[in-house]
Amino acid sequence: MRRRDLLRYSATAGALGALAPIGMPGFAVRDAQAQGAGAAALRWGGNLSRTLDPHTVYDVPSAFTRVNLYDCLYEYAGNPPEPKPLLATETRSSADGKTHDFTIRAGVKFHDGSELTAEDVVYSFRRMLALPQGVGPAFRPFMKAEGVTATGRHSVRMELQFPYAPFFACLPMVAIMNKRLMEANTVNNDWAAAWVAGNDAGSGPYKVVPGSFRPLDSLDMEAVDGYWRGWPHSRPIRQVLCRPVRDDATRLLAVEKGDIDSTHSYIRPDQHERVRRAPGLRLVEEPQLRTYLLRVHNGRDPMNNLDFRKALSYAFPYELFIQRVLRGTAVRSPGPLPVSLWGHPRDLQGYKHDLDAARRHLDAARRAGANVTREITFTALVGFDETEQAAQLLQSELRKIGVTMRIAKAVWANAVQMTQREETSPDIWSHWGSTYYIDPDNWVGQFYSKAALGTQRGSSWYRDDETDGMLAAARATLDRAERQRLYEAASRRLVDQAVDVWIYNGMAYRAVRERVKGYRPGAVGDGLDLRELWLEG
């Protein structure tokens, strides 16, 4: 380098260095904070739903807004969670279990100041039943819109088509909406779906800051003064800024840096130690009722052979998967129900990894004429590494006993499409038994009834009159002890028939900053009650 060049470059670098403080980003950030970014706000980094409409979507992220913007007749409380009255102060059920009378709490106000009455409850249930997706499909089999009527200013009657035992467990799914506000925003008989997708019509502890919602991206909420349930802490969180972080790596950086106060609840096992060691952070464990299982196509050769299915069940390395892949963050689930839920037989052993037993059953299947040499296909889900890892482990074990298995991949939407028809449904695929309502029917009833055939829930293509009868009887009786007996019997029968490969009950993990106090996981999905939180310092 020539001396003149060196001097020129040095002078340029010096000038840039001298100018740098003028535009130092730190200054700009402080300027911006002075203009409105409050440190007293909770910066929530959990996933955000695509809509604020509590009736059209029912998934993990939507529980967050449903619980905090709305109230329901019932809520889940306790551990394991049970449905408890919330807006309902009194419930009377007829002896045949078909008619239920609710007294609605007086004095509850919507966010616009109007009073919540029976008319709002009736409107909300009729709306939910009228909409084609979301919560409605769970209610429509046993309830019709005309069956919901107001019997007084604060009393509602619900008449079911037939006795349906999980009814009370389903009630926390239905948010009560402000009828007057909704009707004022209804366009072309859309039940105000377009409007309420970005606004709220609730009576919950928080309300939406108008115009702040952007699907999947951002939502600002403010505490409601004088909320009827009160605030457990003297300094509750007044402002909540929801800013989901979509990328895995950035999510942890953001919570470490303090950009957000909490991540979503899917912190991967390999990231747990990092969170535990990070100053100012803690890892919160959230017990889940969600089950993970491999759905096996019972209607197709060779999986229609009981011994072949047992060979599959014995071939899967459960402990290896839970301890190595999931790093011990799950509990072995030997049957179709979550292990902590009533209805699960406490003494149910299920299957263990045993290749000798798998070989014996494979030989028996071969002798019975099953086409055990056919290459079977495991459909793993794109974006869910765990499903691919499960597939690889099973593939490896099956190879040892002489069964060839191919791994295919599909995005969730494609997999759902495949399960609609028996011919296209995968040989084996990964499925989660998510919690929609906390009742054994949500898992065993929904997955193994004949009525589920043709949907993703029925993708085992399992047809058994005896099991179907037990599940129907369990839905029809209100006797809890009898229901428990029926679900236990159904679970044992399903395990004996090795209908699916049931693997684990999950545990969810969330990284939360130490300044967030009072944190208690929600019973369903991301439905934690923000009222209970406060910020330290």
């Binding site: 980003p25 911006a32 059209t56 084609p132 499909p137 951002s218 950035t250 950009d259 609609q420």
Partner: protein
């Protein structure tokens, strides 16, 4: 020049129509049933079928296409199955973020790439050229998501001089909507502090997105400048004693930029598609995240509208590139 613009605009119509057909067919042949995904896990086959009928997905493909064409011609891009909002509204909110990021990246790539390429050509095979070569090969080889994370670790976590993610910090009010580009809108609103705040948020994502493009532009410029330096007119200018700097930056570079400008137009498409990864890492609320979410849930209206919108932007940018080329080299306008 006007004739050139009109010709290029006219050519855009069949291109966009072709794109529309392609996207429509692709979204329909993918084995995913929007009705089943929308209905959710609790729905029965009859309920799914009812949704399918409501959405018109049970009709023959050609009927659906004609219906879609009519709809698009009237400026209606449909409604998202999930947000229940008109797709146009979603696009209008998200498009400016992606455009702001793409423009900043393009500007950065041009401002850095062209001088780097020119310097490398002038110092051909010297140590400066070698350093630039390492930079350009590295820029092309490094994966965007890795670079993004490295930049975040160094500049945001370690040095703490640049923001980690987002267009602005949580709680900072968005500017009044004028162009949708935050930096410009804050400036137009007279809020210098927030303009600067937004500008600093733009740095890491735009550097990540610009890096491979900068490398490409530098390589193209270097080759073109070397070629031009060997031409007779340069030898003549040298012989008559033109100042080296004037000769390089005024004559040689202008004669070398034609290929680079074409490349810039093509790279803009890269910025738009590459933004999917960069937007996810930096929490940039643009089209990338929206499109990804729509694809995975078979929300076909946003997929079609977003693809079409990107196609229109790409076509418009390429018309602008043609105009710039015509300005640099008037012979181009005559040929086209």
């Amino acid at each position: 020049m006007l004739a050139l613009i009109l010709r290029r605009l006219a050519l855009m119509i069949p291109v966009l129509l072709g794109l529309l057909v392609l996207v429509f067919v692709l979204t329909r042949i993918v084995p995913a049933d929007p009705a089943a995904v929308l209905a959710g896990e609790q729905a029965s086959p009859e309920q799914v079928a009812a949704i399918r009928a409501t959405l018109g997905l049970d009709r023959p493909l050609h009927v659906q296409f004609v219906r879609y064409l009519v709809q698009v011609a009237s400026g209606d891009f449909g409604t998202s199955l999930y947000t229940h909002r008109p797709v146009v509204q979603d696009l209008a909110e998200r498009m400016p973020a992606t455009i702001e990021l793409a423009l900043a990246s393009m500007l950065l790539a041009i401002l850095v790439g062209i001088p780097l390429g020119a310097v490398a050509a002038v110092r051909r095979n010297g140590w400066l050229d070698q350093i630039i070569r390492v930079f350009t090969i590295g820029g092309l080889a490094v994966a965007s998501f890795w670079m993004a994370i490295m930049l975040q670790l160094v500049f945001s976590m370690q040095l703490d001089i640049l923001p980690l993610r987002g267009r602005v910090d949580a709680g900072v009010p968005a500017p009044p909507f004028l162009t949708g580009l935050y930096v410009i809108d804050y400036l137009l609103a007279g809020n210098l502090a927030l303009a600067r705040h937004a500008l600093w948020h733009l740095v890491l994502p735009s550097v990540t997105l610009a890096l491979p493009a900068t490398a490409t532009i530098a390589r193209f410029t270097r080759s073109s400048v070397i070629e031009t330096l060997q031409k007779d007119f340069v030898a003549w200018e040298r012989a008559v004693g033109y100042p080296r700097r004037v000769m390089l930056w005024k004559y040689v570079l202008r004669n070398s930029l034609s290929a680079t400008v074409t490349q810039v137009g093509l790279l803009f498409g890269l910025f738009l598609s590459g933004s999917i990864v960069v937007e996810a890492v930096f929490g940039w609320p643009g089209l990338g995240d929206y499109l990804f979410s729509a694809i995975t849930t078979a929300d076909y209206q946003p997929v079609m509208a977003t693809t079409l919108a990107i196609g229109v932007i790409y076509a418009v940018v390429n018309i602008m590139v043609d105009l710039v080329q015509a300005r640099i080299d008037p012979r181009v306008a005559e040929q086209r």
